[in-house]
């Protein structure tokens, strides 16, 4: 496959940045998108150019590091996957592919396609945990009976990998899907109920402070989320927040 790549290049956080065109050949349909970028970077390094900086780690869809806004969609045109799971067979010979960083005020660009998503970490620190005694006499979690229905939903919410595709896709750069997944995974379980009130108030406050936008229920996040996190979680967080606010 021969492709034209239009890639966002930005030297550092202060640089203005711009789109730069690259021609690339010899791409196999079975390569992953990141492998295609590896090929490009090898060529750039051989020419003595600065390789394109992009985030990645596990390359199997579980860490959430790989980001990229590809042809106008977070993680590219495929559904239910991260960029490392996107294959070049989704593209055709001769295609032009736009590759941009995730855009949000709360996700500032560090270099090229790499953005700083530590705002998510700070939201987690504000309440995305439960306080349990881990000093050695920890109770077996299975001692507490939990309805399968609830356990399944909590687990579904817990599959959020914090990739930020929801923020990148949202026209408002809202982090509601992420935060609601983190609120829901605990809200549905008895262990999480203990600190439920403080959790939702603190996490929403942290989310607002980071400069994410407000949800307008466009549903773009749910469509683009690699883990299929449902809008139900946002509604649950809305209920939790309302209940916590009037307590």
């Amino acid at each position: 496959m021969n492709l034209t790549l239009k890639i966002w290049r930005q030297k550092n956080a202060k640089d203005k940045g711009q789109m730069v065109d690259y021609k690339i050949g010899g791409i196999e349909p079975d390569m992953s998108f990141l492998e295609m970028l590896d090929v490009l970077n090898n060529e750039l390094v051989e020419k003595g150019d600065d390789p394109v900086a992009f985030d990645h780690d596990c390359r199997e869809g579980i860490c959430g590091m790989c980001s990229l806004f590809i042809n106008g969609e977070a993680h590219g045109p495929d559904r239910g996957i991260t960029t490392c799971q996107l294959h070049m067979r989704k593209f055709k010979d001769g295609d032009t592919i736009y590759i941009e960083p995730f855009r949000a005020k709360a996700f500032p660009v560090i270099k090229d396609l790499v953005v700083d998503r530590s705002s998510f970490d700070r939201i987690q620190h504000a309440g995305g945990f439960i306080s349990v005694n881990t000093s050695g006499n920890t109770q077996d979690a299975n001692n507490i009976p939990i309805k399968k229905h609830d356990a399944d939903r909590a687990f579904d919410a817990a599959t959020c990998i914090g990739c930020g595709a929801c923020v990148a896709s949202c026209k408002n750069s809202s982090a509601m899907l992420f935060v609601s997944a983190k609120v829901s995974q605990f809200a549905l379980l008895p262990q999480g109920r203990v600190e439920a009130t403080e959790r939702v108030l603190n996490m929403v406050e942290a989310m607002d402070q980071e400069g994410f936008g407000n949800c307008t229920n466009t549903g773009a996040c749910e469509v683009e989320c690699p883990k299929g996190i449902s809008l139900e979680n946002i509604a649950r967080m809305n209920r939790e927040y309302l209940a916590a606010s009037i307590k």
Binding site: G72, M176, T197, L201, N202, G211, N238
Partner: protein, 280 residues
Amino acid sequence: MAKSALLKSSLGKKYWMALTGLFLCLFLVGHLAGNLQLIFGTDLQFNQYAYFMTSNPAVKILSYLTYFSILFHAVDGIMLTIQNKKARPVGYVKNNAAANSTWQSRNMAVLGTLLLVFIATHMVNFWAKMHFSEMPLQQQTVSQPIPMTNEKIDVVVYNTTTGSFIAQQQVEGGEFEVRNNKEFYIKGSDIKFAEGYKDLYKITVDFFKDPSYGLVFTLFYVFSMAVLAFHLLHGFASAFQSLGANNPKYNGLIKGLGKLFAIIVPLLFAIIPIYIHFIK
């Protein structure tokens, strides 16, 4: 609770958006039911409805709630939109938003602003006239038998809120006089004996049938109802999500109801000016 911010937080603002939006949906139903009398009712029935809407104390409370809701909804909506724009200072070169969201969901602020322009225009066209300016009073022609003959004669009368008639001649002839645009007094005295109905029906029909601007306003009203339809196509179901009502069992129902509401209500509103301009 110190941390809660039912007015300031992102979630709090959304509750108010949803509550005021849904209240406005209720208002639309009431407003529509009244307006449909322009098609299905008599001029007297429509004017009686208009009178009721401006004089009943319970309706007064509801109308203040409506003014408040529109203002709050518009200001809150515009503030949210400005914040949301600020949350992405550098945009995408290529953004395929149509792949993951509907057009109307992405354009609520534009649609809402157009609605605000419409509401302001509409209030100048009718509401302000009804409330603040001189209006003709509802009249009717009745045929009365001439005493001691078999003949009848047509008499122009004013309808009054007490259900009685006042002959136009008696007002023109100086027996009675009209004060405050609608109150009938015995000439030169403080004795008010009836109230007339402002003829909003005539104003409305004349407005949409006006030879110079009737067509323009008919088209503008129809266009605005299309805007309302798109606003509600997203807004109705969205409000339930904002308030936390999302249950897979009922989501289909809410979405379906929302679509029906968003199509039927604006359509019925839009038929009124079309009917008046082209058919009446």
